[in-house]
């Protein structure tokens, strides 16, 4: 009688509705999609974890350059292997849902972009971020000179307290001025 086994209980469903931004239909759909990812044995386990490789086969994540980061951020696994339980999966969908607030979205965006998990976006993070955006092969990457110019530009604009990195509040400051961030930071099943 685990959360991912068989059907979702009514109490659980309403609890999920309370704790996430998802509607009932969305939760049920998420549950359906998640159980499809489970193998036969895992279906009987109460809190089954789906390894990252299988999560990444989802159509919605397949062509996303940040897919591994997304899994890592939302995973509550102790091994930090990016595997997701159903609740982690709901967390992911909730943050990326239509009705999530800008604050939530920017918080998670920050964590996704913070590749080394140190709480700030430093030059290394920004470089990785830009590489993800432009494509990571050698011919799609920006040249070192371009990258330097770009990162200098970014820091000049958004690093308000001039400490050489972009922290969460600076990041949210930038994001809060772009309402279409909410519409593009979205993954709907």
């Amino acid at each position: 009688m685990g959360t991912t086994a068989s059907q979702l209980g009514k109490d659980l469903l309403s609890e999920y509705q309370e704790l996430t931004f998802l509607t009932k239909q969305e939760i049920l759909l998420a549950h359906k999609r998640f159980t499809e990812l489970l193998t036969k044995d895992e279906k009987d386990l109460p809190n089954a974890r789906v390894p990252m490789e299988r999560i990444l086969t989802l159509q919605e994540l397949k062509s996303n350059p940040f897919r591994k980061r997304i899994c890592n951020v939302f995973s509550t696994s102790e091994q930090k292997d990016g595997s997701l339980t159903f609740e982690d999966f709901l967390d992911l969908l909730s943050a990326f849902s239509d009705s999530a607030t800008l604050e939530i979205k920017s918080h998670y965006a920050f964590r996704i972009f913070d590749f080394d998990d140190d709480g700030t976006l430093d030059c290394g993070d920004l470089e990785k971020l830009v590489n993800c955006l432009t494509g990571e092969t050698d011919d799609t990457r920006l040249t070192a000179e371009e990258m330097r110019q770009l990162i200098n530009n970014i820091l000049e604009e958004s690093d308000i307290d001039k400490d050489g990195t972009v922290n969460l509040s600076e990041f949210q400051h930038v994001i809060s001025r772009s309402p279409d961030f909410v519409s593009s930071f979205k993954i709907v099943l």
Binding site: E18, N64, D98, L142, E146, L150, N153, E157, S178, K186
Partner: protein, 720 residues
């Protein structure tokens, strides 16, 4: 050795001195242990932490039962986040387990506070939930959600913005329809029309052709102005003419309010805030990725788009540097070139306007031709306008590429020129229409005539779009699919969806609809039909014929642009309407013989009668409001309000500057203190090591004679 050691300590010190470079400094700053313990870091720290300070999720992960036990060092309990306790749980950025914990904590808190307070809180939560559900079900009723998502997934947010805009226009027209029914059509159907008007039926002598060019049968139909004569509803202040006018006015004002509202929402974000701080690159990076993209091909495309965009930005940066370095000769040559090209543009525009004038004149001269020729002549003016509007923007696009502007300026100049062309050609057409219809004989209903022309224009606009899709774009795509290697296919190239030009088309048709609504009240209905058809046709075009574009538009900035264009169109429509009404007043001798203001009535004397019938107080108030004396206080109040807003804005700006300064100082203070703390820690550790080492040496007399000497200094990073 002694010397060596002291040098090492000073090197530690100097390493952390404020004179070191920024990167070194920040490196040092973020690698210190105390950094993890700063409250500001803990508040926004993700689950993982290095130094054993448990993060949000981390703390919850260990406990199998939600809310079983809570560690005292939990950042959420310590962090001063009062506003968080009132937020709905789903607004907290943590995992579900952690939210469960927070809920238990909140329930405990609620039991601590009084009954009344807990009831109030639960009520507010319930209310919020009901609202959220209502909003959810309302947004579920929006049509075409699925289609929009498919389009968004393949073509990005920009193209979706076009379709959302289209849907918005459909709503707007629906609203117009409702208003037209309420103000104009409804009263007329209930109370009937005047006895003098002819009955409305399909005469036997009306030919198909006449139906098509809308002369006889349609002339007396409710489609046009002439149908609405004064019926049995005949109070001094409530009769058909006044209702008619009020209806049109309401429609225009409501549209104005809606468009301005939509525009300011976007504008607030892009201009007022964006101007002060340029955060262009950060935008491009931080919200660069469109997470809705599902198609791998679209994903690679988006990546190449972002790459091009960034390269473009860097190029523009160096372009402006190059621009500053231009020599005088180069500058003169460039300006000369631009001047010549602008002359070319102006002459093209002039030619287009003359063509429209010529076509309008020819089409309004009626003479005996075959039915086909006469039908063609009837539609000549709309054909010309549509043709001009199809061809010239593309020419403008080509021209602006020669002008050596930066790319954004190029796009913008093209847009501005195209807007000008569209609206001006419409304006010219209307002007000549006014002039020529005024010359008509007395017994003809010239408002109907005018309405008919507008109707034709809007129908033809739609037909042009239809044929362009199915005779031009679709065959082009077919050629490319069937013979991808042929010369023709390579020549034609791939098609992309030019958002701005498509939006311009929409704005244009909406403007036509606004201009014509006075003469043809059922135009919104026609508008809804054509817009819905447009939606499906454009969906077909996008999904079937187009490939995603290299250069995509940002949704917000483009939606501001869309609504700004719409506003321009609306203003033009209002100006045209006002102009025509004024003209009617001036030429009283040639009063219209039909419609609500048929029997020698004008807007002025009808409203005059209405005002006279009101009680005296209301009368004097109205008369005062209409007089010049009212204008002075009105303008004064506006000035005061504006001044207060401007000064408030200035004060806010100054406050922002000061806060920014404060932020910089406090962060540098923080940095300094952290550094100081680290050096002190290191020194302490060094000293302890020294002391223990010397103690050991004291204890071991076998190494006697060297007691006074400290041991060799440890490697520096051992302290970390």
């Amino acid at each position: 050795m002694e010397e060596h050691h002291s040098v090492n300590v000073t090197s530690v010190l100097s390493d952390a001195s404020p004179h070191s470079t920024l990167s070194l400094e920040s490196c040092e700053y973020y690698q210190t242990e105390i950094f993890d313990q700063l409250p500001s870091i803990q508040a926004c720290r993700p689950g993982r932490s290095r130094q054993g300070v448990l993060g949000v999720c981390e703390a919850e992960r260990g406990s199998p039962q939600p809310g079983e036990k809570r560690s005292d060092g939990h950042p959420w309990t310590r962090a001063p986040r009062d506003k968080a306790s009132l937020q709905p749980l789903r607004n907290l950025a943590m995992c579900i387990e952690a939210k469960r914990g927070a809920r238990v904590r909140r329930q405990m808190e609620i039991s601590n506070i009084g009954y009344w307070e807990s009831w109030r809180r639960s009520q507010s939560i319930n209310r919020k939930r009901v609202w959220a559900q209502m909003r959810g079900s309302l947004s579920g009723m929006l049509p075409w959600k699925r289609t929009l998502r498919v389009i968004e997934g393949r073509f990005g947010v920009g193209v979706k913005a076009y379709f959302v805009f289209l849907r918005y226009l459909i709503y707007l027209n629906l609203l117009h329809c409702a208003l037209v029914w309420g103000y104009i059509l409804g009263p007329t159907t209930f109370y009937g029309r005047g006895n003098s008007s002819k009955p409305w039926r399909f005469g036997s002598k009306d030919s198909f052709l006449q139906f098509f060019n809308g002369s006889s049968y349609l002339n007396q139909s409710p489609v046009f102005y002439g149908f609405y004569t004064r019926g049995s509803l005949n109070f001094p202040c409530l009769h058909t003419p006044l209702l008619y006018f009020a209806g049109i006015l309401t429609i225009l004002f409501l549209s104005l309010a809606m468009v301005v509202r939509r525009m300011t929402v976007g504008l607030k974000h892009t201009w007022l805030l964006g101007k002060r701080y340029s955060v262009n690159v950060s935008y491009k990076i931080f919200r660069g990725w469109d997470f809705t993209i599902q198609d791998p091909a679209a994903g690679t495309l988006k990546q190449s788009f972002i790459r091009n965009d960034l390269k473009l930005f860097l190029e523009e940066q160096s372009f402006s540097q190059r621009e500053a370095k231009r020599t005088l000769g180069q500058r003169v040559r460039l300006y000369l070139l631009r001047f010549i090209l602008n002359v070319l543009v102006v002459s093209l525009l002039g030619g287009a306007f003359y063509l429209i004038f010529f076509a309008t004149e020819t089409s309004l001269e009626e003479c005996g031709h075959g039915w086909f020729v006469s039908l063609f002549l009837q539609y000549l003016a709309p054909i010309t306008i549509t043709f001009v509007n199809l061809v010239l923007p593309n020419i403008f696009r080509k021209i602006s590429s020669f002008e050596d502007y930066s790319l954004t300026t190029q796009v913008n100049t093209t847009i501005v020129r195209s807007i000008f062309l569209k609206l001006a050609s419409l304006g010219i057409y209307l002007y000549f229409l006014f002039k020529t219809t005024k010359a008509l004989e007395q017994h003809q209903c010239k408002e109907n005539r005018f309405g008919r022309e507008i109707c034709k224009l809007s129908i033809f606009n739609f037909l042009a779009m239809f044929f362009k899709t199915f005779l031009l774009e679709f065959p082009r795509k077919l050629v490319q699919e069937k013979y991808p290697t042929s010369l023709l296919a390579r020549r034609l190239g791939t098609q992309s969806f030019l958002i701005t030009f498509n939006v311009l088309d929409l704005v244009y048709s909406q403007t036509v609809s606004w201009v014509g609504i006075y003469y043809c009240p059922l135009l919104p209905l026609i508008g809804i039909v054509t817009l819905v058809a447009t939606f499906y046709i454009k969906k077909f075009t996008v999904l079937r014929c187009c490939v995603a574009e290299q250069r995509m538009f940002r949704a917000t900035s483009s939606s501001v642009l869309f609504h700004f264009m719409l506003l321009l169109g609306l203003l033009m429509a209002a100006a045209a309407l006002g102009f025509s009404l004024l003209q009617e007043e001036v030429t009283v001798d040639k009063m219209s013989s039909c419609g609500p203001f048929g029997n020698g009535e004008t807007l002025y004397n009808v409203t005059g009668v209405c005002v006279d019938s009101l009680p005296s107080l209301a009368q004097s108030v109205l008369r005062y409001m209409a007089s010049e004396a009212f204008a002075v206080p009105l303008i004064l109040t506006e000035i005061i309000i504006l001044t207060s807003y401007v000064s408030r804005g200035r004060v806010n700006q100054r406050a922002i500057l000061r806060l920014e300064d404060m932020l910089v100082t406090s962060s540098s203070d923080k940095r300094f203190l952290v550094r100081q703390h680290t050096t002190m820690l290191r020194l302490q550790r060094e000293l302890r090591r020294l002391r223990s080492a010397s103690f050991r040496e004291d204890a071991a007399p076998s190494v006697a004679g060297k007691t006074s000497r400290p041991p060799p200094p440890p490697p520096e990073n051992e302290a970390d």
